[in-house]
Amino acid sequence: MYQDVILDHYKHPHGRGLRDGDAEVHHVNPTCGDEITLRVKYDGSRIEDVSYEGQGCSISQASASVLNELLVGKELAEAQKIQGTFLELMQSKGQIEPDDAMEEILEDAVAFAGVSKYPARVKCALLSWMAWKDATAQALGDAERKSA
């Protein structure tokens, strides 16, 4: 479960800290007390930044770091594809063995495949991804309202 990639991200997180954003969300994992505050900044449909601050276990923190690494600079559609693939992997109960195609999409995030075998930890891994999805909906929803 604790792949070196995960421990690396945990010890040396990417993009940690809150920066300017279009929307901010705060998500918690009530069973263990993992928390994340996450902001997204969009440039049109391109993700300019995902900044975050939080506390929690190595899985939740490393996952946020991987998210930042993977999604910043991407177009929304591509980011959604990555998020969907990660969600599918995490909900697989250890049944999906990531193939080359999946690895190409998920990069470092494939290291979390082992976590999917532990039901209690899946939500740790998904915390930042759900927060990102929520923040994105808010940011783009606001933008739509403003342009309407």
Partner: protein, 422 residues
């Protein structure tokens, strides 16, 4: 056993006791024998309790208080016999003061709802106050928050000292002439603290407030004598004391149970019913609407027999010795901070701690890989975590079957955790 165990006195014959608990023989993760240190969440069950459940279902299963046939009468006798056993176990003056519920949460919700719907002098309303403490399990916080929100009563609470005890310095401001009910835990599920019941009850009696005690972490571990406690209500749950899940107890003083209104309505709790109104059965049935958890009550009766045969004093002495050893050994682990009293004095056998910056989830996961089962998280007592500025803790808790060797295994396991994340 290592030499460190020499000098521990008062230990039970755990080798014999452990033979009664089938689960303690389990191996996990390729041959690692389980080290079960989560009894504060739920205890393991002895064969005697499992057999009682089985025998009930195989030989005596019927609904209670209804049929006139042989098996139905046996079921009723077993269910009511369990009530007798529980009444004796807590030294209740009358068996009719023992109400079976689903768990301690339901017991506490029942008290809150009795008082919310009560007439004077018990009624909780916008002119009155409720007192609890910051170290309560959520089950002894949320029902009172609900009652407070619905009635307008003011909710007050005792804070905590840095060493994990109740701060009673402002007792006269927390419990006032307006206080109708004081509800607090006898033993904290997170901190392990055993609270000074007498001081609180004396103040409550001075102002004429009722007292409800959450004994969920006490009933399994020490002599629980409701008459000596002098409280008005005592709540606890069966599954933490070797019984099955789905069965809890509320003990209440008889005159209160007579005066206070029912909460749940249904079968079994009535005297007569017409389409316009109903009258109610006397306590305890007034508070047991619907088919009760029959098998679970029978199982709890068997658990009470099991614990009584070993002796609650002996169990308390055993756990005290283990706790003393555990707090000492745990404090030898670098970066480990015990959240709660750091000695075994006035302390139960649940020990929460943090380990440097390593998140409890990671601690628990790496311990699990070694077969060690602990609880991680905020233990349904989030305000305690907030009070001490921590997101969560790891908690090891011990019971009558716990051994010093298991404390050693935990300490070694924690060293491994430190190395892993270090």
């Amino acid at each position: 056993m290592t030499s460190a165990h020499l000098g521990l006195s008062g230990l039970l014959d755990t080798e014999a006791i452990r033979k009664d608990f089938p689960l303690l023989d389990r191996v996990v993760h390729d041959g690692k024998k389980i080290v079960y240190l989560d009894s504060a969440a739920t205890s393991q069950k002895p064969r005697q309790v499992l057999d009682a459940l089985n025998t009930y279902y195989e030989r005596h299963n019927a609904n209670v208080h209804r049929g006139v046939y042989t098996v139905a009468e046996e079921a009723t006798a077993l269910y009511e016999g369990a009530r007798d056993k529980v009444a004796a176990f807590i030294n209740a003056p009358s068996r009719d003061e023992v109400i079976f519920t689903k768990n301690a949460s339901e017991s506490l919700n029942l008290v809150a709802n009795m008082l919310g719907w009560a007439d004077e002098p018990y009624r909780v309303d916008h002119e009155t106050e409720i007192a609890i403490t910051e170290m309560e399990h959520h089950s002894n916080i949320v029902p009172w928050q609900l009652l407070s929100q619905r009635t307008g009563a003011k909710l007050k609470w005792f804070g905590l000292t840095d060493d994990g005890r109740l701060d009673l310095s402002n007792i006269e401001e927390v419990i006032t002439e307006k206080t109708k009910i004081v509800s607090f835990t006898l033993v904290s599920n997170l901190l392990g603290t055993i609270n000074p019941v007498e001081t609180i009850i004396r103040r409550a009696q001075e102002v004429g407030a009722l007292v409800c005690i959450d004994a969920s972490q006490a009933a399994p571990h020490m002599v629980l004598d409701v008459q000596a406690l002098q409280a008005d209500f005592v709540a606890f749950t069966g599954h933490k004391m070797c019984g099955p899940t789905g069965i809890g107890v509320l003990w209440g003083r008889q005159e209160l149970l007579e005066d206070l209104p029912p909460f749940l309505g249904g079968g079994e709790m009535i005297e007569t019913v017409s389409m316009h109104s109903s009258t109610y059965a006397p306590a305890p049935h007034k508070f047991e609407a619907g088919t009760p958890p029959i098998a679970q009550a029978v199982g709890l009766g068997a658990a009470v027999d099991y614990l009584s045969a070993i002796g609650m004093e002996n169990i308390a002495r055993h756990e005290h010795a283990i706790t003393e050893y555990a707090v000492r050994r745990l404090q030898e682990v670098p970066d480990l901070r015990i959240i709660g009293p750091t000695t075994a004095e006035d302390r139960g056998a649940a020990i929460s701690f943090t380990l440097g910056d390593i998140h409890p989830h990671d601690v628990g996961q790496v311990l699990d890989e070694q077969g060690i089962a602990v609880r991680v998280g905020h233990h349904c007592a989030r305000p305690v975590c907030l009070r001490y500025g921590i997101p969560a803790t790891t908690r090891a808790s011990f019971y009558l079957y716990s051994t010093p060797a298991e404390v050693d295994a935990l300490v070694e396991g924690l060293e491994h955790v430190r190395n892993f994340f270090g």
